[in-house]
Symmetry: C2
DNA sequence: TTGTATGCGTTATCAC
DNA sequence: GTGATAACGCATACAA
């Protein structure tokens, strides 16, 4: 991969405008104390030559890149897309760009991606969740790189966070079903390894069911990868049990969509014969038929707050190490009274 | 935004290992002609010091960054997420990273984002579609930057492309409905300004309906932003007409989901009372009830091919300026015979 | 307000 | 094979 282009340099602009390179640089950086006349001449020269400054040289010389990095598990799930969009928008207000890296829920890939971001010289880093390879913390600390994790609620001074409690809403979801008379609950969970959010949600489901005296047997907890088709498969598995559940708690909305759609195909009526819940509150959720009971994850708000807080940290401001947001239940029609046997 | 960290430099590694900086650089770049002994000592020193090379300095000195940039309208639509995922995966095989920039279908933002990518020194650029500000082409040409557009089928030697025909499948979709006896068709389109794909699809719908002698009156073409809720609103608008359509052609799957879900809510049966089509074939499509008739956009394949072809271009290879992929219809149960009045 | 000179952390071109 | 050293393109003290 090579490049032969003879690009126009800052030096060329200076020559064209008949000024020094320093002056061009000042105009570029909107530095104070530049005369209107000089600025105009430089800008005209830039325009004429179609000059584009070299970000790498710039970063090298100024020791700042004007961008932060975000490490997200996947862009397949629109909930992260929404957060990223909001984060990026907000960063713009601070004249800061966003570099996105994905790691498909593989923590080794995450570490690798972080290394890449650090090499790029990002001014700060955003992480999802609390599960990471130890080297992640080491690297971040060694470089004294401002960072923020989100999407969880761990109260860890060494690990600043803007997130929400994943366990509590899960518990409340299960309690809601128990209150509706359900006793045979089941869970469709995303893989919990390296995913503290999925673990917390599962734990919430467990706590509520155990407290109610009807704990979840292993066969009623199925773990599947992310995806509608996977949710549908999980439905088959669960409904094939000797004692199929009357309610299925899903680790996220996409899995719940899969369960509901499979139910419809099999002629299992939701919620009359089967209650289903999700987690995320994607825009589809309220449009499903019936509308999906789920948890409203504040993705947009997280993006906004992370942007502000991380920029503040980069600027050396002291910030609280934990901002907890609300993740309220969205009770809709996919949950109803337990069927009478 | 400043950074005070005293990082370990290549020079420190050299000192620690007792070799020259050049040797360290060689080890880093897996250059040939380095003795095993030297390599081991250097690698040990790197490990000990936790050294991470500076990507910016590296890019500056080597005049290559090892990354390409992708300009996508939005990450909200999972179809682009899928393409990006596939692109990124494939680029890895070529030791190339991916920088993602979004522009929310605003061509001025796209140009701005391109400038940013160029500043970053990307080795190549991926664009979606054929609609761009003229300055995009100018900038790309001036920098002699390898690039590739995708998702369309314009046969333009100056604008290399890996995509598919948007109009033809749209036409075939409409013809399918006409064949089923529908005469009052309607279209829910994404905004066509700055979006050649949306225009082409609309044009395809138009051609087929006009050829069949039942052209689309203006009131039966509604344009809405992307989103489920927007699709649902479009349904309301169309079904509120004096002569409501018996079939609705949607510009993408998400709009179709909105239409179908709104129909279900209103008790309008799909396809008995209303046929609906999409465009994209998102994973949800086949799981809707009824499964959605749509067009299978080869997003994964585009990502893969774009990676290979762009890398080839960067390496100076001559490539065909157009690779046309197939976008077959996925005929499912959301379309059926026109109801008898 | 503007210009000069030095340094940012690597890679690459020479020598040895 | 390995080691000096000059680029790479820009920002920024410092000087004027």
């Amino acid at each position: 991969m090579n490049k032969e282009t003879q690009r126009t340099l800052l030096e060329d602009v200076a020559r064209e405008a008949g000024v020094s390179t320093a002056s061009v640089s000042r105009v570029l950086n909107r530095a104070p104390h530049v005369s209107e006349r000089l600025r105009e001449r430089v800008e005209a020269a830039i325009e004429r030559l179609g000059y584009v400054p070299d970000g790498n040289a710039r970063a090298l010389a100024s020791r700042r890149i004007g961008a932060i990095g975000a490490l997200v598990p996947t862009l397949d799930n629109p909930i992260f897309g929404a957060m990223i969009d909001s984060l990026e928008q907000r960063l713009k207000h601070h004249d800061c760009r966003l570099l996105i890296a994905t790691y498909r829920y593989d923590l080794d890939d995450e570490l690798q991606a972080l290394r890449t971001l650090v090499q790029q010289g990002v001014d700060g880093v955003v992480l999802i969740g609390h599960d990471h390879r130890p080297a992640v913390g080491t690297l971040l600390a060694r470089r004294r790189l401002p960072f923020l994790s989100c999407w969880h609620a761990e109260d860890d001074p060494a690990w600043p966070c803007i997130g929400f409690d994943n366990a509590a809403p899960a518990r409340r979801l299960a309690e809601h079903l128990l209150r509706l008379g359900h006793r045979r609950l089941a869970v469709v969970s995303a893989p919990t390894e390296g995913n503290d959010r999925a673990r917390a949600r599962l734990e919430g489901f467990r706590q509520a069911t155990e407290a109610a005296g009807c704990p979840l047997p292993p066969e009623r907890i199925v773990t599947v990868e992310y995806g509608i088709a996977e949710g549908a498969r999980a439905f088959e598995t669960l409904m094939g049990l000797e004692a199929p559940p009357t309610a299925i708690l899903c680790g996220n909305d996409t899995l719940a969509f899969g369960v509901m759609l499979a139910a419809q195909r099999k002629g299992v009526c939701v919620p009359d014969q089967l209650s289903v819940t999700g987690f995320d509150d994607l825009s589809q959720a309220r449009f499903m038929s019936p509308p999906l009971t789920t948890v409203a994850v504040p993705a947009i708000e997280i993006g906004r707050r992370v942007a502000d807080a991380l920029i503040a940290r980069i600027d050396g401001k002291i910030m609280p190490h934990l901002q907890l947001l609300d993740a309220p239940l969205a009770l809709r029609e996919s949950t109803g009274p337990a069927p009478i046997d």
